[in-house]
Symmetry: C2
Subunit: 384 residues, 2 copies
């Protein structure tokens, strides 16, 4: 297998982009990534997208995007693993470049979620759960994560304040990110006073419905070294699955797909989690950030809440988490999220994060993307 | 890159399977392929599926299927390229095994199309076209292929009888395939007398709406040689895209994605098309089989109709096409079709095709799978 590096990144503004179309969003991000990489041609591409059929009435996404990006006849494949679709796009591009099948491969992600009303968006998102045993019975994603949160609170004495602190930290980071959907700071008091969506999750514990796209360009390290920007190597990639439905799990508080994907990525990189400097993780709900950090081995079981409360995961903390603002503040266009996480890692490792968001002395970052309530997870480790 | 072989195949009955669920179909095919390969574990899997969101209200397909197949936590990715999704699954599995990331990889495909009514199925299928410029304007797939057929008839004097002969041949082959949806023979007269769907395409020029699943197991050739069945090598794989919308093409009769994908696959195999003994091609409509054979270089432009009429593509002809019965007779569960094509090639090369369907003295076969009206195509060449 060949060594692989990210040589270009690009993304759109994340937000409610009513004046933008599905295809235009993708093309904007992809073209920005190609410009950043300094390449005019690509050999192959992957598009992460969760549910374009339900959100915009469009499948055959690879063909559409290759056509509108002007790169046909290159191979173009849409990949889907619910909200981990973007992470999968990066992983498939990594495998293709590593294999030698192609040299310059684009991995993008996109979702246009605001062309439908809220009820339809909730239905579309619920297709990431087990349709027959969860979705059709009325379970929504806030409901599923509320069950996880309740179990975690009961088992580990995690509090609503600890959950709120995740949102407060991520909004603080996102306030410095010009691409973020929400660039406002919030307080713990505001989170706790906000509308209850699914007890114990308030609306400010939830990531928003978002339009947006993101793209990265991958190439063999040898080729990357001859181009302009410093190549950021992908030194580990792991993917794993778990039961799609919550009722099949032994322990609601444990995300075993995250544990397994992290383990594989670290094994490939020949590293331990303590060797990593910072992370972008899948905070679709505040409780997700805590359970993910525990499954990744950053904190012991039940310790992520107190650590967050004490500020360890802030930008100046021991282990910064979601310097981009995370899904909570940056926004969560589900198919694009996994790619946007990798973009943040690359920007941080290049020293190109905007303003105060730039972390100091970081050499390695980890991106963790998750599908549904943890039925799948993709983990990518990058090194400057 | 490592050499890769197919070591196991399995599929369900194709048809209107009202007593079967989406997930059960996939598991049945995948388990059959694992039994055929003699493996109890896999390292990774791909699921080709076009539009489970619209057909059965379920995304996150990789996680669901890995869970129900009992193979979680293995990585499981759903891939989509409209009706070429199955071909893409095989291609991604090929790339992953070739890369060295995984040894035993399952590539499956599935579609459950009869849980919705005909109007919804037509809408879901139209999402393979350009939604904004074709689907939302009322274009359906029979309509799009009818435009291609009219152009071909005008340019090359192709006749309705020649189109009908494709259906007659494929039903004759399918009548010998116990997995086929339609196992009845038909006549040219019956095709021409059948209901007109989109002039000049009669209903017997159209492939049906089908439920079904198919799966193959891939492994490095070295490993394959130590297992029971004779390994069938994948010696060429090509994928290409074209404009998703018909109105953007210079020539409606020319499928340039099929041409490019075939060229790439042949280059990888270091072969010419004349070195191939038989083909499974994407006859979603009768006209498609003719235009595909011309784009693949089997026949010159305009020559596929007369060649079909003269019997060259029958089982005992110069170049047998669709010995399985093709999409027309075997059925077309869109996500499964590309995998089922590869299964037919493997069975023929192993000498395991049922009864009279077995071709004599075949050493190499080619499978051509297509998305939409030719916006994407995947071509796979296999050798005994």
């Amino acid at each position: 297998m060949r060594d692989v590096a990210v040589i270009g990144v690009g993304m759109t503004q994340f937000g409610e982009l009513w004046e933008q179309s599905y295809r235009n969003l993708f093309v904007e991000a992809a073209a920005a990534a190609m410009r950043d990489a300094g390449v005019e041609k690509i050999d192959s591409m992957y598009v992460g997208c969760m549910s374009s059929g339900l959100f915009v009435g469009q499948e055959h996404v690879g063909s559409l995007m290759a056509d509108y990006l002007g790169v046909a006849p290159v191979p173009a494949v849409r990949v889907e693993s619910a909200c981990a679709s973007g992470g999968v796009a990066v992983r498939q591009a990594f495998i293709e470049v590593a294999s030698g099948m192609a040299d310059v491969v684009l991995a993008g992600g996109v979702e246009k979620m605001t062309d439908v009303d809220g009820a339809m968006a909730t239905y579309a998102l619920a297709t990431a759960a087990d349709a027959e045993y969860e979705g059709f019975q009325g379970a929504t994603f806030p409901g599923l994560y509320a069950m996880i949160a309740n179990a975690h609170m009961k088992k580990y004495k995690t509090t609503s304040e600890m959950l709120a602190q995740v949102a407060v930290k991520n909004h603080e980071n996102g306030s410095l990110n010009p691409f973020a959907q929400f660039q406002n700071r919030i307080t713990v008091k505001q989170v706790l006073a906000s509308t209850m969506i699914a007890d114990p999750l308030h609306i400010l514990d939830c990531s928003p419905v978002t339009d947006g796209a993101a793209a990265v360009i991958l190439a063999p390290v040898e080729l990357a070294e001859r181009l302009g920007k410093p190549p950021i190597r992908i030194i580990g990639s792991g993917m794993a699955t778990d039961t799609i439905a919550l009722h099949s799990r032994r322990d609601l508080t444990w995300l075993s797909a995250v544990e397994a994907a992290t383990k594989r990525a670290l094994e490939m990189a020949k590293l331990k989690i303590k060797d990593i400097d910072f992370a972008e993780v899948h905070d679709c709900f505040t409780i997700a950030e805590l359970t993910v950090l525990e499954a990744m081995g950053v904190y012991k079981r039940g310790h992520a809440g107190p650590a967050t409360k004490s500020g360890e995961t802030k930008r100046d903390g021991r282990f910064p988490v979601n310097p981009s603002g995370g899904l909570k503040s940056k926004g969560h266009p589900v198919g694009a999220t996994g790619v946007a996480q990798v973009i943040e890692i690359v920007k941080q490792l290049r020293g190109e994060a905007e303003g105060e968001r730039q972390l100091k002395n970081v050499k390695r970052g980890i991106a963790q993307n998750m599908g549904g309530s943890g039925g799948s997870s993709v983990v990518t480790i990058l090194e400057a």
